[in-house]
Symmetry: C2
Subunit: 423 residues, 2 copies
Amino acid sequence: MASFIWKGQICDSQDRNTLRVRENHYLVCVEDRCMGVFPTLPEQYRALPLEDMGDRLIIPGMTDLHIHAPQFSFRGLGMDMELLDWLNTHTFPEESKYRDLDYARRAYSQFTAHLRRSETTRACVFATVHVPATTLLMELLEESGLVSYVGKVNMNRNGPLYLIEPSTIASVRETRRWLEDTAGRFARTKPILTPRFIPSCTDDLLYRLADLRAEFGVPVQSHLSENLGEIAWVRELVPTAQNYGDAYRKFGLLGGETPCIMAHCVYSDEAEMELLRDGGVFIAHSPESNMNIASGVAPVNRFLDLGIPTGLATDVAGGSHESLFRAMTHAIQASKLRWRLLDQSVPPLTFDTAFYLATRGGGAFFGDVGAFDPGFALDALVLDDGNLDHPQPLSVRERLERAAYLGDERNIYAKVVNGLRLF
Amino acid sequence: MASFIWKGQICDSQDRNTLRVRENHYLVCVEDRCMGVFPTLPEQYRALPLEDMGDRLIIPGMTDLHIHAPQFSFRGLGMDMELLDWLNTHTFPEESKYRDLDYARRAYSQFTAHLRRSETTRACVFATVHVPATTLLMELLEESGLVSYVGKVNMNRNGPLYLIEPSTIASVRETRRWLEDTAGRFARTKPILTPRFIPSCTDDLLYRLADLRAEFGVPVQSHLSENLGEIAWVRELVPTAQNYGDAYRKFGLLGGETPCIMAHCVYSDEAEMELLRDGGVFIAHSPESNMNIASGVAPVNRFLDLGIPTGLATDVAGGSHESLFRAMTHAIQASKLRWRLLDQSVPPLTFDTAFYLATRGGGAFFGDVGAFDPGFALDALVLDDGNLDHPQPLSVRERLERAAYLGDERNIYAKVVNGLRLF
């Protein structure tokens, strides 16, 4: 268990509207937990090792609420399609390769190495249907020091025969085998149930996954209301549901005892948003993906007004890049176009809110994570923005905004996840 | 005058819809001009020095049709405002600092160093009202090896007293002094008339600038139809004009003998677009800027359908970054949201079209520039994408798309501008 002190220019989110900047303060970590941020070092911590980060910025680690590990291999490619065509043309053929464990090792090692170097400290990850490759991905993520939930994907219909699972029984059996193997095995890496989306799973499979959810006490992640064609399809597939979200609820996979994440929610109406709020469901807002596959823009400030827990996601490979800095700036940019072109009732995101989403907002899925409040898990990044030159003095706040727009992994000088220093 | 041969994976645009990929071909440069691209090396060039770029990509240099050099110092900052407030709060105070030549040297040296390392080989640059600093910027750009047009800005109304020029006479006198000093002085760097925009310039100043345009035969750059508040203001200021573009035309600054660039054109209606087409005016499409200051999205494919010459622009510091790769991906993303949220009559931009805009489209402002056609000026980049790892084979075309989404200046292995090798 790690105990240490960092001194530097400390920034975190107090709430969705308030970026806290504490200059030349001390961040104290005792046994992997944040003790708080102090202008002078309290007497009781004077014996702890102190590292002076000088003029560098110290910020909370960031949470990526939705990323597809097997799609990392084709990030930045094939962006000229909408969701359903994009799945059939690019995604499904690539995901089928993870049947081959050698290929999976090569690809997942690259994914994990990039994620380790990125702003991300915690992530909720989709794998593929394949249990051996999914377990391998969990081993690699565990070794990386990152904290994650990883999902073996379930899909037993409406996909190519070379990829989908041959039956409900096979899908449930494999999922159970995987849960039994991994549920208690890792310190930092946990399984999460991952039905791909309603069109990919038969009703009986969804009911059986809800049974596994109850039996193993694991959380759930899936996709919701990303694209208009998808929504119309779900309406046909589950005609008794009030809306797409209600379909998950009917099958026992939204709301209830264990936490849920739903990615996108671009087209959630008021009834669906109420369902998400009442179920405590986290929305994984994926702005770059929603631009790249021409889905639209989710009304993020509306989610926050309603009290729906919301965080950011890169959604690689709908999104091209694993950087949550990029996700922050894409979220701001997309929200401005939504406001300008579609709906002036939902104001654009400010920088402060985007930073909140990337840190505290998404971090909450993992508990007390994503800020430097006393008692929070200690996830932190040290940013060195020395290469972002400028001719005039800048405030710490300005330097943080600039780092989000212009920085990349070269600017991450140090990274701690749950007290563990990765570099 | 440079003559050389590069061998590699050669990509350029044939037209707005057609990306040409020629693998393991020879690109021949004789006396700064492209002789073409050949599958085997023609006999007459066998004596020229050959560099084998191996599996690297060779692409044309890119043209940035609109960038503000003095705003580079606050790139990535203050993105929470619309145009007119943003000018008053951020832009004008910063631009006033360029009265101080020491500050200008520090800031413009940083700007020029970044531009030299970027994808940009040619640029159309706004400076400030200050002649000494503008001339200094031209000297620095000339030394960099880049090819550029640089404009001393004119503004004598509706700006802060600490920045605007005190009278029409003073503005014209300074502009004449600057043109006489710089019009024939540099090999690679030329002056361009730069009224900031209609609201910044009195009618008599605009008429006098048209006189200077005729006298010196210099081109013109300005801003057009970026923001709804700005357009309403211009309607009040020039009530006799049919539209904003027509106001420039009436003053003798749009259409006519020398080339023009108008940045943005987000809200140009059909009449204004016809005016631009008939005047051969280049549109500098600035997608990131148009998102960041919530202007909207220009209908780029409509411009191209009408035959209006169009290129890409970073518009730093409305845009945060000098990278034209980023401008390409922002252009695609913004066009998809425009299509999804506003208007399905104008299709989104494909990757091929975005690449065309960044190379051949904008390059045409400089003549035969932006492709590897025989007779074109030799502007080229060599891309090394070795750090963009992937587990599977990728085609050259896929590697180019990926480099645009994921690459940065680290991927630029070599750069030639008009035959001159910069690195």
